[in-house]
């Protein structure tokens, strides 16, 4: 993740997402989130449930749920701001430039449409293919995602396929128009572990083959470690730490990242004790003044509750939003 923008296919700047209440007052759920994704780069966004990962991703794709809006900020793709361009232009990007894969392959496919037709829909619309050509492309996409007997399976309805196959259908659909940016919202969470691994490998391979960039939202640190090169950690609607995956995991500079790592199982060191994070993430409506993580933080000092720590470069290539960031290193050492 490069800190400065420029040639990045995706550059999110100071994105604030929330609920606009009648009467002008609005509630921010995601606040001042910024990140860039360079061509071919793979960014993992992690954080516990409710931290705003999905909303961030959906804002980029223009798929925010009813009632939730982008309150401020920019989402630049290839130098153009997605948020201010006409809806028609933006829709024209969805598929050939940007594609999204959702968490639940059970519900993310239209139950009354054959899966082959669902894959063919994008190419028909965007690539100007005939119905027959699009159907053929769909079958070849299914073959590419490792679906056995694709010509027959293309005629199946979603409920006739297993979860793993459905997620492959979703992936085939997402890559069918050759997007430059793939947005994945926990694409493997609903799958069992062996299938998870296959699907991850498939995603990696497709990104390698096409050079597409990837933004991968998950709460599974092991998945990020395997799939992504860059990491952003979200807490209560803010990015609290960002940097290279390996570096950050080796030496986290934000107490929340550290707590996340300690609370997750580590298969290289199974003897290590798991430490749960005490307390709960704050409600967006009554975020504490100062650092949102302060009430649960083991390194908290008085000044932490007085001002919000800014996201700053603490070491080259690493951003953290913590006044006590340096102490983390001392304690670790």
């Amino acid at each position: 993740m490069s800190v400065e923008g420029g040639s990045a296919p995706l550059s999110v700047q100071d994105l604030t997402i929330g609920l606009r209440r009648p009467g002008g007052r609005s509630v921010a759920i995601v606040e001042d989130v910024s990140f860039d994704v360079d061509p071919g780069q793979r960014l993992g966004i992690v954080g516990e449930s409710g931290s705003g990962k999905s909303l961030t991703l959906r804002a980029v794709a223009g798929l925010l749920p009813r009632g939730v809006e982008v309150l401020s900020g920019r989402v630049e793709f290839g130098g153009r701001d997605l948020l201010t361009m006409p809806a028609k232009d933006r829709r024209a990007l969805m598929g050939p430039e940007i594609a999204m894969i959702f968490q639940e392959p059970m519900t993310a496919l239209n139950p009354v449409m054959r899966v082959g037709d669902q894959i063919a829909e994008g190419p028909r619309r965007h690539l100007g293919l005939s119905a027959k050509e699009a159907r053929e492309l769909a079958v070849s996409m299914m073959a590419r995602t490792g679906i056995p007997d694709p010509a027959r399976r293309a005629k199946a309805y979603p409920h006739e396929l297993s979860g793993g196959l459905r997620q492959r259908i979703m992936i085939a659909m997402a890559v069918s128009c050759g997007p430059r940016l793939l947005l994945c919202d926990e694409p493997t969470t609903a799958l069992d572990v062996t299938v998870q691994l296959q699907v991850l490998k498939l995603l990696e391979k497709l990104c390698d083959d096409t050079g597409a960039s990837l933004v991968f939202v998950t709460h599974d640190l092991a998945v990020v470690n395997q799939t992504c090169s860059e990491l952003a950690v979200m807490y209560a609607g803010h990015i609290v730490e960002a940097g290279g995956v390996k570096d950050t995991f080796r030496q986290p500079r934000h107490p929340y990242t550290r707590a996340l790592l300690e609370s997750a199982p580590d298969f290289d060191h199974p003897e290590r004790e798991l430490i749960p994070i005490p307390g709960f993430a704050p409600n967006v409506a009554d975020r504490p003044s100062g650092c949102p993580f302060a009430p649960r933080c083991g390194y908290v000092r008085d000044h932490c509750t007085e001002a919000v720590p800014p996201l700053e470069e603490v070491i080259p290539g690493r951003l953290a939003a913590c006044f006590e960031s340096d102490r983390l290193v001392e304690v670790l050492a």
Binding site: A87, L109, V112
Partner: protein, 319 residues
């Protein structure tokens, strides 16, 4: 694929005992009606002797049980009896009336869909906004109006005042038939709309918020294409069974409405027969209506199965 429709023959078989039950109910209810048909035919001034002789001629002096067996025996042979009033085979009268009532119901259903689908889509596209509130107000008003009153108002406004439509009747040519049926069909449609709109609106809102519509949007689908490919069929699924149930009620409504508009369908036939104590005709119409409700039930499930590939009614019934 066709496998999922294997419930149809089974359902047809199941309806035989139902129809048998209907004959029992219809026959005994009709014969419990106060009043003697012979008296009704001859008028109040007839002598008791003449009434008795006509009763004998019509078989009305036999024990009720014998009369039922006779009725059933004839029915099995496809003989619905002879109308007391018209002195013609009841089957002829019914065959004349059935297509008229069916056209009326079909017309009403089409009109109801033509009105409901766009209104539901308009309401669902902006829940809570002005147009949604307007549609919901319309459904409330529509629900509050009695059917016959709507019919009379339509006659007063569109037929008597604006003279755009005939006050009643059925016309001569096929084209005229549809023209004459428009107001009664509209009356029935207005009665059906509130339920359909409410169901469609709710299911459309549901579908628009679903994950798969999100997926469709992520493929660049919007507007008409989005509705056509991903919303319409999914939103129709719960509404189909509601329409099925409502068509049953609609037959009841159409009996009254035919009377209001002087449409010579089953309803007019039935009401005239009731006043004349024309037992064979009443029985025949009641049977036809029961049959219609059964067929609509099966058709509803066929449509339901056709639009939702997940539905397999046979597996549940055979299990």
């Amino acid at each position: 694929m066709l496998d999922r429709f294997r419930f149809v023959p089974l359902r047809l078989l199941q309806s035989i005992p139902v129809i048998f039950g209907v004959t029992v109910v219809v026959f005994f209810m009709v014969h419990l009606l106060p009043g003697n048909p012979a008296l009704a035919i001859l008028g109040q001034t007839a002598t008791p002797a003449r009434v008795a002789s006509l009763s004998h001629q019509l078989g009305l002096d036999k024990p009720l049980w014998d009369q039922y067996l006779l009725f059933l025996g004839h029915l099995v042979q496809g003989n619905l009896g002879t109308s007391i009033t018209y002195q013609r085979p009841v089957s002829e009268l019914v065959l004349q009336a059935v297509p008229i009532t069916m056209s009326l119901l079909l017309f009403a259903l089409v009109l109801a869909l033509v009105i409901s689908v766009p209104l539901a889509a308009v309401a669902a596209s902006a829940p809570g906004r002005a147009r949604d509130l307007a549609v919901r107000a319309f459904t409330l008003v529509g629900q509050g109006m009695p059917q016959f009153w709507v019919g009379i108002m339509l006659i007063l406004l569109l037929a008597v005042k604006a003279k755009a439509f005939p006050v009643g009747g059925y016309g001569e040519s096929a084209l005229e038939h549809w023209y004459y049926l428009f107001l009664p069909a509209l009356t029935l449609a207005i009665a059906m709309c509130p339920t359909i709109i409410r169901s469609l609106r709710a299911s459309t809102i549901n579908v628009l918020g679903s994950d798969y519509v999100g997926t469709a949007r992520s493929k660049g689908a919007a507007g008409v294409a989005l509705f056509r490919l991903h919303v319409v069929r999914n939103a129709a699924i719960p509404t189909v069974s509601i329409i099925g149930v409502n068509l049953g009620y609609l037959v009841g409504g159409s009996l009254v409405i035919e009377r209001v508009f002087a449409v010579p369908g089953l309803g007019s036939l039935m009401i005239n027969a009731i006043f004349a104590r024309d037992f064979p005709t009443i029985q025949a119409v009641a049977l036809v209506v029961a049959l219609f409700v059964i067929v609509v039930g099966i058709l509803t499930d066929v449509v339901y199965t056709a639009i939702d590939p997940r539905v397999d009614l046979g597996s549940r019934e055979l299990a």
